[in-house]
Symmetry: D2
Subunit: 411 residues, 4 copies
């Protein structure tokens, strides 16, 4: 058994199969994948990695298992899955997921390739565990998969407190001790035990406050969109392919962008924080359903149209359309007076949080600072947006009010 | 200038009139008034006092003034009011307020007596300040009174983080730095500046989560209700009068209860945490409006009736009816797109929090453990409550689900 | 099993004999004994109690036992002893120990009376534990007594972090997780395992820094000396006796001082922080051995002489002579290259800390502010001190340089 | 003015010349230089960067200036120097300093090139500041240079608390508020004001405890030595030159090592934490002075000899000889009884810390795990070390006892 010092959970004791997995290359690679991707452009302290997060998830899983009295092979599988749950991520965490998926047809589930062959599979088998059973848990399948990837999984418990610790934004400070202690299985469902409506609410509210302040801060979204566009440039220039791209670490990607002529300008902008600005920042109800559901090629087509209309280069317009608002934790189950209920049916606050997701949703069009005005007008026209005003007009009434800490000279 | 080390704000620098006020007996007395009254029966670390809280409020006021650019006499008055704002509290903080008010006809506003005569008035005048102007600020009057006692006052900013620090419950961890920095005056109203809907929301959500978990935890309410009944016993026995009672500190009250024969049993119970238990714990919609609005004498009458019906001594029944749900922060103002708006009109979350207050409201009837069942039945009948089940019946469906950390073997 | 939320260790789970002991009056009394006595005159946030500390000690003992693999009766006894270890304290913690001892002949070890009869003894026996065996552990007797009261006991691990948390002084922030994990028994001695010289050093250095900054801050010493003198007044006036005094809680003592005519002036001074000031603050090497070793009656005699010489009332001179410098943790054992060694033989830092104790030692003479000068001169002469200058002469060279955070207008 | 959220100091407000400097490429590059180089192999949370540290140093400088009453051009220069003080660092912080120095003849002071020409120089001049005057401050020259780079500089105040926050090791938790408040200039020297011997001691003790636990942990030293050897390989293979190397960021270096055939094996080992182990770990007094003072070429020669003697490849032996023990803070000045004194003359503890540096000094010889034994014997013989035992012999008596948290399966 080894003991690892963690800035969030203090000492994490790792043994058995987890100890053996720690030294495998796909786990060590997580040391070089930032947990929050481009969020460090907003919160400069947010440089923590998927590696320490994975240790934290392992630790919380371990405590939950101990409270639930789960032992033996099931417990070993869950511990392994907790440590491995993020090994499938590409560089810059979620930032490039869509991109890789479009090219490879694999989304998240290359996890099978990673876990069922090679060194990790050997280690798992050496400890009497079936690699495919562990991969199932990582995907959230089965009763115990809920602990690793579900509405009440230990993944989000770790990332909320860890992201709070490293960004300095206190909203994610949940009571992980209580949450882990109150997890229970009722009729095969992972639930919070009696007396924990509020415990469940606190988890959702933490996410509801962290979301616009941290995860969807507009500067993080802009830099993420630029990074995605740059990575597409790499693929287009045949500097890499999607299969290779998804196994890069953050170092590889940064350097590849610098070394490829077609992406060097993006690299320069990202390296010097010379980011695009918002030309449009539009609320949910002024955006057509068709646009929200548009596929990748259609969005690229819109970008070209907007650029043409504005008289700028196509690379100078980035259209960023988030998926429809959703809040998976709202289906968390909690026991109330002996019956299992969904949190969203039980809690007025949770219902409100679901509505808030829609209020906070924004479509963004980004462009270099000196062309935001013409790009804004062009986008308004091409995308059929009925805006009261452009972002460039002193934060017009359809624009965001979410301008949290910016480190920032942006609109 | 002196520098005082605080466990929450680190160093607090105190000078001018505040430094002179620090040594007055009515400020020093706050060292012996617990901030959270009987909450330490639930959270044993919660022994912080009104004195350190008052220093914290002074500190946040000072920082807000500096950000707002307020100087001179107005600033000095506000600093004095911030330090003095709690000097009117009786022992055990809010626990005895109603009681003292009923007897003295003074509620909160004995503050005039305290500040406009005696040593404090002398100190204020020595520093060129009008005692009655400072008293006005403590009561929240006028433009600047909003900073000391209003929806966005620095009082609640301090107590949320301080109570979180000392209870160990993380929900109160708000971003005081940002809040204080974003305060502004627009058309004479204290508001949060542009881009701070979420900042305002975070303040309300912190209260919404701290409320049932800490401030209104049933064990805190039970012990508070017992303390109030005991204090009434002191008055009835002429062991003290309301004027004297309200100037006691916590030490005085504890010892007075022990020394008076009629209250010795309450003192024993409070000293040994041998508290009453819930016989009834009823939701808002099963309680008649008449009962919610009943005055003190009527409630005492109900208690006697319930006791008679249950065949127990009148001192063994405590009826605890909170005031109607309310959430003052919801009227906080925030600037959105250049216009001042009320937070509750702007925020879906805040509307939800207002509804939640009602969901969380509970009427309680408390009794010694061995008679909760007969007292429960009697209360159900006398008070006309339509309960699905009593608390003694395995947490029946009309009972609370708020049973947070209890230190506790209670129902 | 119950779970108690603690501001330092988060959740503390209490069960078995400890859960049953929690509700006994002598444990509940600890809620009303401040952990740091009069230190809150210097650090206003330091209002934590012996009760929460006792829970913390129980918690660390529990974790140490789990790491050491100790189970069964021995473990249950140690847990009980950890929770009970402070029940023998009088009001205001250590402040009155000497006083009570002189009168009762019992020092610390009235613990036998408390644990071997009455409710606690019954609870212990109900759980199959011998009360006298538990009392032995509290006194630090036997192999396992070292865990509860010894150089490496969990008592000091808890109080260092707890006092740091509540005072805001960071020096006590040790790594309790590592300390508890590295405890081991070698040849019947409690030691820190291989590779932990530094772990041991960190514990001593934490104490070495907390000592002058917190525990022996001159304002804490002055108020403690005044409180002791006041308590003697109570005894002299027959307002109480030593047996009763030692079972008071802080509330009782404060009120008793107010109610007794002979101590009312001390009570007023303590209630309003109108404390004596230093008239003399003398280093170790200018104080005669005879004076350092003087007994209580001799010291009272000196006080009277100084008062007479200075022409002031005897109650206006307080002579405060600490015991000789000592540092018990320095005999802590640690394993180095397979051999058990004493930390002080192994660590240059520890040797230095031992010397520092002497450097920091100070004899104090205290008096009301307006007579410090004449009392200073009188004390210099009566006590035969060869001072370069009095405290009143701009911090003369024989005076302290330890004037940490004062909240303070003192010399 | 902008406000940046920091995980250590909360809000950092940046304006004037500092705000303008923030966006320059040489400052933005610091986002990609880890503060603690290879320490994250021991403490996986330690991924914080020179960028956030530079903001922290700026912040503490700003507070110190405000306390010292320094304004105008001097203050602006100091703020600029604080923000820029680390821009001269190569990749992986201090890890490659010697290497670059040997090749370029520039050590630390390429700072002149960086600050006195190009964009930074333009920004400085635009704000009326002389670039060379700012460069002087960065080098610690002149009265005010002491604030930026001296025994009491704000640099070390920031890194101690920041490294503690991110590693989770509490020893660095100093009281920055007090330190910054107590800085003063006396006769042109930066000192701690009267009453701060302990404040100064706490700074040194924090370093004394962080040093072996964090900064010189053997796993951090091994990985640093491997990285240095790998970087030499890059130069030898002409994959880069020293001038280019020193302006790389961490990403560039990692990828360059992977892309160069001669360093690919080092890259693989570093990427997968397949690190060398200690073959020798020798105390100060068994190492010849000649060896301690050996220059780079001599050390390489020794390595080759040891490898030949052990029959292994030259790349498999790494000899790591730290410079002689030193403790710059010990010359810190503090005012005692009105006179400026050096802390080491005043404090027994500081003298002890100086001796401890020597106790903790270790010469290391590292090799792949499977050849440590033969390399150990060869090194013992070639280097003339009189060891009691090799590291491979159960932690022989001349080996370290400093094996703190390892994340680690190393000797």
């Amino acid at each position: 058994m080894i003991s690892i010092k963690d800035s969030v959970h203090d000492h994490i004791e790792v043994d058995g199969v987890a100890e053996a997995l720690l030294d495998t290359p796909i786990v060590q690679r997580l040391r070089r994948i930032r947990q929050l991707g481009t969020v460090s452009y907003v919160y400069p302290s947010a440089n923590h990695t998927r590696f320490e997060h994975s240790l934290g998830v392992y630790h919380l899983a371990d405590r939950a298992l101990s409270n639930l009295g789960i032992e033996g092979t099931n417990a070993a599988r869950i511990r392994a899955a907790a440590l491995l749950h993020d090994t499938g991520h590409g560089p810059y965490s979620h930032n490039l997921e869509d991109l890789v998926y479009r090219q490879t047809g694999r989304y998240h589930d290359e996890i099978d390739d990673l876990l069922t062959e090679g060194e990790v599979a050997d280690v798992l088998r050496d400890h009497g565990l079936s690699p495919s059973a562990v991969a199932d848990l990582v995907r959230g399948d089965g009763k115990y998969g809920q602990l690793v990837s579900g509405e009440l999984d230990v993944d989000r418990m770790d990332y909320l407190v860890r992201d709070a610790h490293h960004t300095g934004v206190p909203y994610g400070t949940i009571d992980t001790g209580r949450l882990v202690r109150e997890l229970d299985f009722t009729e095969g469902e992972l639930v919070l035990g009696e007396g924990n409506v509020q415990t469940g609410e606190s988890l959702l509210l933490a996410r509801a406050l962290m979301n616009p302040t941290v995860y969807s801060h507009h500067v993080a979204r802009i830099s993420k969109a630029m990074l995605r566009r740059a990575a597409e440039g790499l693929l287009r220039a045949d500097a890499t392919d999607a299969w290779e791209l998804r196994r890069m670490d953050d170092d590889d990607l940064r350097v590849a962008l610098r070394q490829c002529g077609e992406t060097a300008e993006y690299a320069r902008r990202l390296d010097t924080r010379d980011l695009y600005k918002r030309a449009v920042w539009a609320e949910y109800d002024v955006v057509d359903d068709e646009l929200i559901d548009a596929d990748h090629d259609t969005i690229r087509e819109y970008e070209r149209e907007v650029a043409a209309e504005a008289g700028v280069d196509a690379e100078q317009v980035v259209l960023d359309v988030p998926s429809r608002p959703d809040i998976p934790e709202s289906t968390s189950r909690v026991v109330v007076n002996g019956q299992v209920r969904r949190l969203r049916d039980q809690s007025t606050l949770v219902k409100a949080v679901m509505r808030v997701q829609k209020d906070q949703w924004r479509l963004g069009v980004y462009a270099p600072r000196d062309v935001t005005e013409q790009v804004g007008h062009a986008a308004e026209s091409v995308l059929g947006l009925d805006l009261d005003a452009l972002v460039s007009d002193i934060r017009g009434s359809r624009t965001a009010t979410l301008d949290e800490f910016e480190e920032a000279r942006d609109e």
